[in-house]
Amino acid sequence: MSSIELKTGEKKSGGINKVFSKKTVIGTRVTKPDAPDKATGKTIYINDMVLPRMLYGKILHTDRVHARIISIDTSAAKALPGVHVVLTGEDIPLLKFGTMRDNVPLKAGKVRCIRDEVAAVAAETEQIAAEAIALIKVEYEDLPAVFSPTEALQEGAPVVQEDHPDNRSLAYKFSHGDVAAAEADSDIVLEHEFVVPYVTHCCMGPGCAIADFDSAGKLTIYSQTQYPYNYKMDLAPAIGIHPGDIRVIQPPVGGAFGSKLDVYPFEPICALLSKASGRPVKLTFSREEEFINSPTRQPAEFKIKSGVNKDGTLTFRSVDCLMNNGAYTSWGPTTPIIQMRTFTGHFRVPAVEYNGLAAYTNSVYAGSFRGYGNVQATYVTASVMDMLAEEVGMDPIAFRLKNAQDPGEVTPQGSKLDDCKLKECIEIAAQKTDFLSKHETYAGLCKQPGRIKRGIGIATSIHNAGGAKIHKSDGCGSILKLDDYARATLITGASEIGQGIDAVLTQIVMDELGIPKADVTIVNNDTALGPWDVGVHASRTTFVAGNAALQAARAARKQILDAASKQSNVSAEEMDLRQGHVVQADNGVSIVKLDKLLRQMHFADEPELVMVSEYFEPDSELEDRNHVGNLSATWAHGAYVAEVEVDTETGEVKVTKITAVQDVGRVINRLGIEGQMEGGISVSLGYALSEELLIQDGKVLNPNFRDYKVPTAPETPEIELHFVESDCKASPLGSKGIAELPAIIPAPAIANAVYNAIGIRFFAPPLTPEKVARAIHGATTQ
């Protein structure tokens, strides 16, 4: 069959003398391979899935913030027709899991926060499951509770976790240089306090898992996770099985943004319901459950002391960060790992210290969220940089340029700024926006009459752009195979969560093998097939998975060219792969069609298949005990400018334009990088102006989109993007990670612009109309 097709095909293509010019797809606009099905409603997301014999799970969350469980009566729920299983913490062994092993799937004896899971049901329909949950009666004895980290650290405060009687969770300490001496020698020392709020991811696809135990006790879990390989390790203790007995399948998800970088109790609960019922069980959050029970960004209180000399040279920076750990520990309180790098290493500061501490409270707990601690750090540092500039009488640009590092410098924590583009980013941002003249004009108009005030502000930051080594390996595996028709399948460890790695990896394979987009398939949704990867986080996927794919594609290319050169008298070095042909590199003349060559290799006397596997490990280091080490194989800077209009009557801030300048290494998919930048900017816009998950006495006050305001299309400013490109040496692909800086930098640029407009500094985002109006009319700082 295939040989007949081949002959016809060859005739049609005009024989073997066809000429093919070299075309690269790197840097072009490539649409996501999954987009057509998403546009037509064909894509089956995890939330849309139904398995045969599937039951529906539901969780009874407590309505208390700290209480002893006296009794749980599940008899009426168990008696309801259609109910298969009802579980409480008493029905399962003690299964501790989480970063600090301080969480369990179903709580026994005591609840510690409003999220606590006290019982769960699996039933034949969602309605029956909900009815059963309503029939469960829990008797509590309330306990004294503590909500603020400061109070939690005081002697005699209620104890949240019995294993931590002082309520202290994770702590971080770093210092470099003589801070006390630097302070004494500084011309000017400023002290400020900042408070950053709870915000939440608002993934459009609410939390969902489907668990299915087989008869041999092995678990298949359909999960929204964005770190499938470590997920097995983290999930196993929460169910009491071996990590090797877990297979993770990742159907399409409705967003993640860091929220799926840990195991949360609903997942092991779903698995335990499946184990107890012998059926697949699906558990889905309502939007209200999603707001209350999914992780938030880490809230924190900062005290920062900074010194500067009259000539504008930074002298020292000292930061205390107090975090509300909530009742259990997820990734939130580990965010200082990244946050510290900005406080200690953004701009040249000779003496720095950082003290971070998380305190257990009876509040909800935070996870990771796009930007990972750097969102908070950048809000603080970028605001302080403007205040220092003003104090020494310099403009925001000159002051930053004076203190910006040069290529080759190493930060106190050991971040190697080999190809530092900070100055370049600042200069381009200033020049593209006509920053200085606008800044001066608006400052002059600030105190003049007029309802609408305009302002312009800049902020900058640094972020890991070559992965972040928080595990012993930060690598990614890739398996690439070509079939008899020259169709390539790349099996990668890297997950697709909407961010577009499928398009990027497709491009890399297309480019190396000279085949069209339609001939590349990416497989990345099953841990039984895929090789190891750390997960989608730390802006690492294009960098790490991209380079792993490049390695695999280059290995396959070499095997193909070696085989082709054996058949012809052209050496492999003189050949290229273009548009489905092996060609002579110098003139593009076809030597053989790729599919034909692959079949010849396959059906030869010594058969050969093209199937290669590669592993890319970035050149980065684990931090040592003192938090020193080059955590990321490369680092990137960005400088963003915000232009705003402030309505001084209503307090409304309208962002009219964001100009983003970012060091990206090399652009791989222009469409994808723009989308990541624009999407990140939107998240930061919400952080700046409208988003706050209001928590009072441990309870969530606004668990809906009406009262928790995410940006929508009308609030979206004009966005201008400038990519600072150069081949990044740490990355064979040339690219750097990009997706978090856009979610980090805009918020403080907006706050700085608001200051330029109205002369009021905001130390606690979001800058809601109410807060801004109160500040203007009360003329106080907030």
């Binding site: 939330n47 967003g255 969560i497 723009e674 624009e678 998240v683 299309a713 009308p714």
Partner: protein
């Protein structure tokens, strides 16, 4: 068995009949009775637009509508926008402009975008980016940041104005 009511309506161009409980929402009926899972139940409170479908000549948050109220009406979902032969122009524009990331909001967003442009048929040259953005105000997208969404819709406006 709880009470069910039989209703009949036109769904994506074809007549259908179905029995539904009186409390069932339109989005649940479409998803559960017809396997039309394009439209999502992302908030259930009319606040996100992920469940947007067209009923007669208007778009509606189908999570706020009872299934029985579809009786006798013409319902179009994202699955009925294109054809088996290919993508409808709005769907195609969303793909080409890179508006779609996770895509969860997109069936609703695209239905609303189609409606916004249809509303302005014959008046395309007057439609601004701001008009488009305002028309999409009820549709939340957490991934795209909306710029490419508006790009896609603006491109369709232009294209349809010239035909």
């Amino acid at each position: 068995m709880s009470l069910e009511i039989e209703i009949g309506f036109t769904l994506n161009g074809r007549p259908v009949k179905v029995r539904v409980p009186p409390t069932m929402t339109a989005v649940s009926m479409l998803r559960e009775k017809f396997d039309l899972t394009g439209g999502k139940l992302a908030c259930g409170e009319g606040e996100c637009g992920a469940c947007t479908v067209k009923i007669d000549n208007r778009t509606i948050n189908s999570c706020l509508m009872f299934a029985v109220d579809c009786d006798g009406r013409e319902v179009q979902t994202i699955e009925g926008l294109g054809s088996v032969k290919g993508l409808e122009i709005m769907q195609q524009a969303f793909v080409e402009h890179g508006a779609i990331q996770c895509g969860y909001c997109m069936p609703g967003m695209i239905m609303q975008a189609r409606y916004v442009v249809d509303q302005n048929a014959g008046n395309e040259h007057k439609v601004t980016r701001d008009d488009i953005a305002r028309g999409l105000e009820g549709n939340v997208c957490r991934c795209s940041g909306y710029t490419k969404v508006v790009d896609a819709v603006a491109a369709v406006v232009l294209e349809e104005a010239s035909t």
